[in-house]
Every structure is written in C-alpha cells, then in structure tokens.
Subunit: 301 residues, 2 copies
C-alpha cells in the first residue's frame, strides 16, 4: 500500500467516522438505543461504499460537507442490511468484524428495530434535496435497495434457484452490486451538479439525468462510464470474497463462483472484471490514482 493511499484512506475514514458520530448524536432516540446503533456502526469495516462515493465525487470536483453527509447515509444503509442479514432467520451469523453481531449482543428485538431505524435514517439523509433545493443526487436509489437491488438480491440468495454463472452474477449484481452502484452514481451526480441535474417522476419515482451544458455531452458519457465501473467492480468485489474464502480453506457459503468454475477460471473472471473497472476509470480521467490503487487490492494472482 503506498503512503499516498494509506494517508488518504485514513483521512476519509476519519471524516466518515466523525460524520456518523455527529449524525447519531443528533437523533432523538434514548441513549440506550443510540448505543445499539453506535455498536453496529463502529468501529466499522473498510467504509468501502462511502469512500467510493467520495472518490467518484472527487474525480469531478472536491467533495464538501454535503457530500460527506450523503456518504454517511450510504454507510448507514449498508449497516442496516448487515444487521438484518445477520439475524437468526436470515444468515444466522454470530460474529461480524470480530465481535458479536447486534442481535447476539442486544437481542433480536433491538436488532430488528436498529435495522429499521438505520434504513429510515439512511432514507432521510439520501433523500435530502440538493444544496440548491433541486432533486437529490440519490433520487431513485430506493429501487437499488428494493426490487432492483439489495432486498431482491437477498431474497434470491435465500430462496431462489441459482443454476449458472450468469444467475449467480445477477444475484451478486443485486445483493452487493446495487449499493456500490448507488455509491458511485451518487458521487458522480453530486460531483457534476453544476453541469447536470436530475429529474424525477413523482409517481414512478424514476429519474433521468438532464445535461445542463448543451455544448458538451462529456458529463453524460462520464455517467455511463461510472455505471460501467460500478457494475464490473460490484461483481469483482463478490468474486474476490468467494475466491479468498476458497483459497483460505474457510467454510464456503451456499453460493460461490467456485461451485461453477474452477479456481483458474474464477480468477480469470475476477481479473477481467477488475480490468473493465480500470478501463472505465482511465476513460473518465481526473484524479483517479486512489481508485486505481483501490481496485488493485482485489487482484488475485
């Protein structure tokens, strides 16, 4: 890890942790329940999703306090999903990041409510309008949490038939990829907010990107490249997990790319996805050194 990378990573984490602390402190819940929420949020993992958002923002413009607030919303959203997924009726995990899961520590009722509270809070933050009062950068994100993302992916993982690599990758795209897409896209929209704006249909909730700079369609192309990155990296992220688990000899989950491919082909697929991510990054340009080093960490040779 380069010193540059290490320093920037620590700075992001410090900012995100500070933001999260302030958000929880500002809530009206009793201290007892705030403790449960803090337990779930800290010390936290890699803070991968909010960092992706801030880095994508940074490719276009320096992130400000609004961006940081939204980034915290993404981490809060991710944390809700961990709490509920860990519960006995779902994946039934006792440990998370080296400590007891929320339901193990505080009981299932508090875990269920904590997940609900964080989902609600994430919605509050991610739906906040743009600084200028316009439709927020995460407009339409609830579909990436719901029927085109996280919840649908978890449902398919638990109850669906997955009989091919494509079906597995599609499930990963929803269960894991959707939040990564949300993070990258949100960073892109916010970082380009002086050049594009979102338009949202009040009934379907569907959003369109409108180019405000008619002389230049580069801003729209960058949005497509951001999506390419997110799609490829979202799958790579999950493939990396499967392959690392397999190599380390850990107990493999029900779903793994190694059920369909041998180790060499799985690695090839992973590295192909990472190459696609890197290519999208290069085409966007900007200050992408951190992101390049970031995706290199997922290469398995």
């Amino acid at each position: 890890m380069s010193e540059f990378f290490q320093t920037r990573l620590s700075e992001w984490k410090e900012q995100i942790d500070g933001g999260l602390k302030a958000i929880i402190a500002g809530l009206n819940y009793c201290d007892d329940f705030k403790n449960v929420l803090e337990y779930a949020l800290f010390p936290g993992g890699k803070r991968l999703r909010p960092i992706l958002m801030l880095e994508f923002h940074n490719l276009f413009e320096l992130p400000d306090e609004y961006a940081l607030n939204y980034a915290c919303g993404i981490e809060i959203l991710h944390t809700y999903s961990l709490i509920h997924d860990d519960m006995p009726c779902m994946d039934n995990d006792d440990m998370r990041r080296g400590k007891p899961t929320v339901h193990k520590m505080f009981g299932e009722a508090k875990a269920l409510l904590a997940g609900d509270a964080l989902l609600d809070l994430a919605n509050r933050i991610l739906n906040a309008p743009m600084p200028n009062g316009g439709v927020g950068p995460f407009c339409g994100f609830s579909s990436l949490v719901g029927d085109n993302g996280l919840i649908n992916g978890q449902y398919i993982d638990l109850f669906g038939d997955i009989a091919s690599v494509d079906e597995l990758l599609d499930m990963y795209k929803q269960k894991t990829g959707a939040l990564i897409k949300l993070a990258c896209n949100g960073g892109y929209v916010l970082g380009n907010r002086r050049k594009i704006r979102l338009e949202c249909d009040g009934i379907s909730g569907k959003c369109n990107i409108i180019n405000e700079d008619r002389s230049n369609d580069r801003h729209i192309i960058n949005g497509m490249l951001t999506e390419s990155f997110a799609q490829a990296f979202g799958q790579a992220f999950q493939l990396y997990d499967d392959i690392s688990e397999y190599i380390s000899g850990e107990k493999q989950g029900e779903r793994s790319i190694l059920k369909f491919l041998d180790l060499d082909d799985a690695k090839k697929l992973l590295n192909e996805k990472l190459n696609n991510s890197a290519k999208a990054l290069d085409t966007i340009g900007g200050d992408n050194r951190f992101l390049h080093e970031f995706i290199e960490k997922f290469v398995i040779v």
Copy 2:
C-alpha cells in the same frame, strides 16, 4: 353509519386498494415475493391513515392521482410496521385481522424482508417530489417514522419504563400518533400546494413551511390546526383501543390507560381528545362532514 359516510368510505377503499395493487404489480420482485407483499396488504384493515390523508387534502382541494399515490405510500408504511411488530422477537402475534401473520404464513425470513421491502417502497413513494418538481409534501417524514415516531415509540413500548399517564400518552403519540400526524399533515400540505411550499435543509432534513400567499396567513394557521387535530386524534385512537379491550374483557396489553385511570376517567380523557379533534376540524372548515362522522365512531359513552 350514514349512507353518505358508507358510500364515501367504500369509494376511498376501492381507490386505495386499486392503487396498492398497481404499485405492487409494477415492482421487479419475483411473483413469489410479491405474493408475500400482497398477503400483508390485502384485504387490509380500515385504511384509516390513507383515508385521513385524502380527507385532509379534500378539506382544501380535491385529491388527484398524485394524492392517491402518496396515500398508498402511507398504507405501505403502516403495513411494514405491522409485519415487523408482529414478529416473534417483538410482540409475537400469530393472528392479524383474522388471518395468520406474515411470519406465521411465510416464515420469519420472508416477513423480515417483506417489512424491509415495504419500508423501502414507502420511502420511494413518500419522497417523490411535488408534481411541480419541488420538495415533496412528506419532507421530513422520516423523523416521524424514526426517532420522533414509530420506531422510537415501539422501542419505548418494549423496553421503556412508563409510570404515568403522561408517559403513556407520550409513547402513544410516537408509536401511533406519528403516522396519523404524517397522514394529516401530508394531506394538508398537498391540498395547499398552490399556497404554501416546503423548504428542506439538505443536511438535517428539517423542513419549514413557507407561505407563498403573503396577503393571507390562513394557510399557515390551517397547518397548525391540522397538527392539533392529528395530535388529539392520534391519542384518542389508542385510548379507544385500550378502553374497548377492557370493556370487551379481552386480555389487556402490558400498556393500557386502564392501568392508570379508572374506566370513567379513561372515557372522559378519550372524549376530551375527540372533542379537541372536532374543534380543530370546525375551525378549519371546508367539507369536513366525513371527518366529523369518522371521529364520532371513536366516542365511547
């Protein structure tokens, strides 16, 4: 029940049911999961919250398709809370509206995911911007779901000490009253959208009502009256439940006004709250005949 009331009630229910059916049909979840969501939503109960919203809207202006969509969002929000509250780790209820609860019918994993899916979906609908693109009429609503409402109320109900009438009423205000407030306020904002607008702080999510009609502050006063109605009626609604349970000899819940007051005083308190609701309605004026008849149903003599 007057024929007028009966007819209008059926019309609202039909519109709400049709709206809910269309919303679920439009989702990308697999049919299997949509079945779970439909099971939770239909045939449904009194549809009290969406009807309150539509009736409050109607005091000021006739509701349109946007209003109906938001009203469905409120019913979806309410349904999420029923599914999660019924789960074994919470209130552990086997039956709801004369049929097995969602987890009894489909298992806990599907119930947990269905609650999450409906909370997400409600957020999508209730956060949609105004028809003119401005901040939506439910801006700030997530606090009424979270730390100033539903979730906080459920936490206090399960884990808090409640040692006085005031503490009990405060818990009711959050657990039950908040969604009623959300419904009435949303109807008021939407029904006055040509006279007022909402302004939302992008970081705290807090909203302010701005009067667009400087020659007339009546629109702002009507907002305050709507809140008075909602506050009084929200508590009356829960007191009515407690008193009916007591009179019918059903097993009383842990929390009941009858633990603090005798029957006569409890009835007096209920009817006082209903009187306050009626007074607020009279002061607002408009086509309030349905709402008057509606609250009369909660009088216990």
